[in-house]
Symmetry: C2
Subunit: 147 residues, 2 copies
């Protein structure tokens, strides 16, 4: 029951270990915006025990390969998200963050034509090969707006 993330690690030359399989399997099941610590607790409750060090190491490898994304929403710890297309459904999305309570909302945008155009322009102008992007909007959520 190999999974796509594990396959990708294998292709990159990483060894296929039990710990990495546990971690990559769990990424589909844990909360969508998870922290290293949160994943650690999730695994403790369920399958097996994987050390935090190994979790950090695996998340780091997956991040470098761009299979997951690492975000800083100002909480003092990073949150991670899967960055793979799920079947034929593109999981690409952006974030709306409440600057007061930290509430996080995902949104999709139909923005990509413009972004692609922008990426192309910048590509030429600065000789950059653009591979990804992030858009984050900040504001006050319904709750926090009332004061």
């Amino acid at each position: 029951m190999a999974n796509r993330l594990m396959d990708a690690l294998g292709i990159k030359g990483y060894r296929v270990t039990l710990e990495r399989s546990i971690i990559t399997d769990s990424l589909q099941k844990v909360e969508p915006h998870f922290t290293a610590e949160g994943l650690y607790r999730f695994l403790q409750k369920r399958r097996s025990r994987v050390s935090l060090a190994t979790i950090y190491r695996t998340l780091s490898a997956l991040t470098q390969m761009r299979l997951i994304k690492k975000f800083d929403f100002g909480e003092g710890t990073y949150r991670y998200e899967l960055n793979i297309t799920n079947g034929n459904k593109d999981t690409h999305h952006h974030h709306l963050v409440c600057v007061k309570c930290g509430k996080l909302i995902d949104f999709e945008s139909d923005f990509f034509p413009q972004l692609n155009h922008l990426a192309e322009k910048l590509s030429q102008e600065h000789r950059f090969i653009i591979i990804d992007h992030e858009l984050t909007l900040f504001g006050y959520c319904k709750q926090c707006a009332s004061d």
Copy 2:
């Protein structure tokens, strides 16, 4: 020779201290994407000595007031930028980051009509009051693309 940032702090009820004046004055002169540590060293070389603790405290206040912006470009430390309009010139811009060497390029985009439209849509949909946004593109710079 009060400056706008100091004025803003004063209005918010912060005391007008020598240290805060030194810091807010220097933000116009230090490198545009500065770190707390970098600002500290900048001040050591020039005017006066302000402690790192005070620098962190002041940057934190300015960030909360949205007079500066705090970015995580994956270096293990934050970078800050002024977030005020400079005369009649809007300093708003976005970032292009090399995922390999960390090279950072600012760019402006003529993107805002679409962004405003998006913001409005999300505002209604999620009852958010949107006050700011960040767009970051990731890729490989000219140097790093060759391998």
